[in-house]
């Protein structure tokens, strides 16, 4: 059957034209396309990688910044706390000192008062003594107008001294 026998003319043209097609397309056609597509694919992959890295870096920077802010906030809280403590301490100190001082003053005042009081008592006492001496003088003068009486008195006094001496 003629269908199963290759025709020489068609064979000739087929070899010629298919050869040309293969030569042109296998040299300038498909390799160029495939290479370009693969280059583009690599480029896209690289770009994605770079973008991912950049994103990661940004995330890291952001995290760093947040950490710094966080630390600063903690520091601030700490400083405020310290300040409060110091203030309280100072106030307490001052209070204590004031109290102490107050006590001292009060003590001193008390002492002064005591001294004054003693002075005053002593004064009163002296005055009373003077007064009583004066009064006793006057009484004695009134009583010892007579001589015997004076002698009695001297004797008695002497006795008394003696008694107290012995």
């Amino acid at each position: 059957m003629s269908l199963l026998l290759p025709e020489s003319g068609l064979l000739f043209w087929m070899i010629l034209s298919f050869g040309t097609v293969v030569f042109i397309l296998a040299k300038y056609g498909f390799p160029v396309i495939v290479k370009m597509v693969e280059d583009r694919k690599n480029y896209i992959d690289e770009s994605l990688l770079i973008a991912k890295q950049a994103y990661e870096q940004m995330e890291k920077l952001k995290a760093d910044g947040e950490a710094i802010v966080d630390q600063a906030r903690r520091e601030q809280v700490k400083i405020l706390n310290d300040a409060t403590k110091t203030r309280d301490l100072l106030i307490n100190d001052a209070k204590e000192k004031a109290q102490l001082e107050g006590h001292k003053l009060i003590e001193e005042a008390k002492k002064q008062i005591m001294i004054e009081k003693e002075d005053a008592i002593r004064d009163i006492r002296r005055q009373v003594a003077e007064l009583s001496v004066d009064i006793a003088e006057k009484v004695l003068r009134g009583k010892l107008e007579k001589k015997e009486e004076q002698m009695d008195m001297i004797n008695r006094l002497l006795d008394e001294i003696n008694i107290s001496k012995s």
């Binding site: 043209w13 034209s17 390799p31």
Partner: protein, 365 residues
């Protein structure tokens, strides 16, 4: 659905019965009217080559595109003329188209003894024209796509170029890469060219109007050249291991030593692989064209059976033709795909590396 099937069955039975009738009546009819419609001739004429591109016939006037005849005769040298000059049984420079016999439908010349001999015929026939046209079209398409990449390399492509990119990369990445394996880049350009060459010719063959419609990939010369090139590439790039597996396969010694049984079988295998490639593509495309033509012929065959039969058959033929058309689009792709994939697989198999070196060494000791 069941009713439809019943109707179809009845119709098919009717056709076969009527077909038998026409066959039985044929000799008588042929005598009566010379222009009896002959399905076999009709189909064969359409799927085989011819010197003119016949388009249609209006009344008695044939409309066809004249193609040049290029013939080298050992008796009278080169002849170049338009095929229309010898179409109607005329003779030019001793050349004529053989009405019947061994060279029926081909240009022949009568030698001194009156025997018909065939000159070296490289005429631009219908198939050659379709071949040149599709080759040019393929080159234009692929080069246009390649140029688009050269112009703007790092841009994502849209439209036709994007479609071609998807198509090319699909074949490259999903067929050639896994089938050939390592070093696939060396073979990818050829395999891609084969794929698109077969695909464009299959597809153009489905288009019934002028530049398409030639039964090119259903012609054995075309598939023969394609299979031959694959055969050459496979065997030239065959590794040492490939030849060792053919000439000294890993089988018991008696299968290969006194009578080289296995080597002979393997050797046959080397030739059957490309042969199967050639026949597969050829037979598939030929069958596809024949089915479409057969369905169309149904309309003309049933003209004699009255208007009711003819109308129903026309509708049926039309519906089946649409269905077969879709199937053929699928086949056009599948056959190109299979041809490329099997070529890639054969190349991959020819580049085997000794995967069980140790076993061989053990066996030898």
């Amino acid at each position: 659905m069941r009713r439809l099937k019943k109707i179809l069955l009845v119709l098919v039975l009717l056709i076969s019965v009527c077909g038998l009738n026409t066959y039985a009546n044929e000799p008588a009819a042929k005598i009566e009217t010379k222009k009896e419609f002959n399905v076999r001739e009709f189909i064969l004429e359409h799927i085989s080559d011819s010197y003119v591109w016949h388009i249609t016939k209006i009344g008695d006037h044939e409309i066809s595109i004249p193609l040049p005849v290029i013939v080298y005769s050992q008796l009278s040298g080169w002849h170049v003329f338009m095929a229309t000059e010898i179409m109607e049984g005329e003779t030019k420079d001793g050349l004529f188209i053989a009405p019947e016999g061994k060279y029926k439908g081909k240009i022949v010349e009568a030698d001194s003894l009156g025997n018909e001999t065939r000159p070296f015929d490289i005429s631009i026939t219908k198939n050659v024209f379709a071949l040149l046209f599709s080759s040019l079209l393929l080159i234009l398409i692929v080069m246009a796509v390649a140029r688009s990449y050269k112009k703007k390399p790092m841009e994502s492509k849209k439209g036709f170029v994007g479609f071609m990119e998807m198509f090319i990369m699909n074949i490259n990445d999903d067929v050639i890469k896994p089938c050939v394996g390592k070093d696939y880049k060396k073979y990818a350009p050829y395999l891609l060219t084969v794929f698109f060459f077969v695909f464009i010719n299959n597809t153009l063959g489905l288009i019934p109007i002028f530049p398409g419609g030639a039964n090119l990939t259903g012609n054995i010369a075309i598939t023969f050249v394609l299979a031959l090139i694959t055969f050459l590439i496979v065997n030239i790039s065959g590794s040492k291991e490939y030849w060792r597996e053919i000439l000294w396969p890993d089988v018991p010694l008696w299968l290969k030593a006194p009578i080289p049984l296995m080597p002979v079988i393997e050797m046959v295998g080397v030739f059957t692989k490309p042969f199967a490639l050639m026949i597969r593509l050829f037979a598939n495309m030929l069958a596809g064209h024949s089915i479409v033509l057969g369905l169309t012929a149904l309309i003309f065959v049933t003209v004699k059976m009255g208007p009711v039969m003819n109308t129903s058959m026309t509708v049926l033929s039309f519906l089946f033709s649409i269905f077969i058309g879709f199937v053929e689009i699928l086949v056009a792709y599948i056959q190109a795909y299979i041809f490329t994939m099997l070529s890639a697989v054969f190349i991959g198999l020819a580049r085997v590396e000794p995967h069980h070196k140790k076993e061989i060494e053990d066996a030898n000791h």
